[in-house]
């Protein structure tokens, strides 16, 4: 009888470990890592992330819970800015551990809400159902002391090669600054836009000058093209700026 019970328990245990949703360990992807791949149901149908979005930039946003105040302010802000992100060739994807039916109800409600004097907009980015916590674990979004079941406010900015460029986490009580996230995307795109690869100084904004990684021209280049001098200037001995 005892043996039977043990065998039965073993069977249950092994079924549990094989049959239950796969991912056991939580891991935060680091800068340079390939973005973890997932397939999931969303308000825009089933998606494969990031593969479905080809050579676009992708931003994966996690939030704690639908129908809560800060999350609502964030979703409305993202909805109002979705055109700006589309112009930057960015695909927004939003995930929480809520179920799809909750996402659909919340989305509908947000699409009827006037916020900060702006008319409601139809949300055209997907809200992902992660009620089994697979994505939460793949992206390290469950910060156990705060919550074992609800994501913190995560941001993963992923480049066209599907590598992680930026990782941000904000706490439950503080809404993210979507203007800052847009600034970061524009800065990343500007940094990579030249063959020379620019470096972006602190507090960089669109139109500001950029840094170059080393002294920008040789004696010979200067002799061939004396105007080159006027395109650059130095600050101290360690910073060479290129005028934009």
């Amino acid at each position: 009888m005892k043996i039977k019970y043990v065998l039965f328990s073993l069977l249950l245990f092994s079924y549990g470990s094989i049959g239950a949703q796969g991912i056991k360990h939580s891991y935060i992807p680091l800068i340079g890592d390939v973005a973890p791949v997932f397939t999931a149901e969303t308000t825009s149908g089933s998606i494969n992330f990031p593969g479905d979005y080809g050579r676009k930039w992708k931003i994966l946003f996690s939030h704690p819970r639908d129908f809560t105040p800060v999350c609502s302010s964030e979703l409305l802000t993202l909805a109002q800015m979705q055109g700006e992100f589309e112009k930057l060739n960015v695909q927004i994807v939003v995930v929480s551990t809520d179920e799809l039916k909750t996402h659909n109800l919340w989305k509908k409600e947000m699409e009827a809400t006037v916020y900060k004097g702006k008319q409601p907009v139809i949300i055209n980015f997907p809200l992902v159902d992660d009620h089994k916590w697979d994505i939460a674990k793949q992206y390290g979004m469950l910060h156990q002391i705060i919550s074992g079941t609800r994501d913190v406010r995560g941001v993963f900015i992923i480049n066209p090669d599907n590598k992680v460029e930026v990782v941000l986490f904000y706490p439950m009580n503080l809404g993210r600054n979507m203007d800052e996230i847009k600034r970061v995307v524009v800065a990343l795109q500007t940094a990579g836009s030249s063959k020379d690869r620019y470096l972006m100084p602190a507090n960089w904004r669109v139109g500001d000058d950029v840094l170059v990684s080393k002294f920008p021209y040789t004696e010979k280049e200067l002799k061939d093209n004396p105007d080159i001098k006027s395109a650059y200037y130095n600050v101290g001995s360690f910073m060479y700026f290129k005028k934009l």
Binding site: V70, E74, L174, N177
Partner: protein
């Protein structure tokens, strides 16, 4: 560094004065209104202090803002 300063002030503002706890909406900047976690007053409190109503407003059914 502007965003880091914004974040710090937002966290300090969220912990409020006394027992008040606020939630900070997306893109919050100094001077902007803040969120409160639930409907901000009872019928009884409103009867005792009708001005209470002037300090708060709602956006949809899920967001109650406190004017700053």
């Amino acid at each position: 560094m502007d965003e880091i300063k914004r974040t710090l002030i937002a966290l300090q503002t969220a912990s409020g004065k006394g027992n008040d706890r606020y939630l900070m909406p997306a893109n919050w900047q100094v001077g902007d209104d803040v969120l409160v976690p639930q409907f901000p007053y009872t019928e009884k409190q409103l009867k005792e202090n009708p001005d209470l109503k002037l300090s708060y407003y709602n956006v949809g059914s899920y967001m109650w803002f406190k004017k700053m």
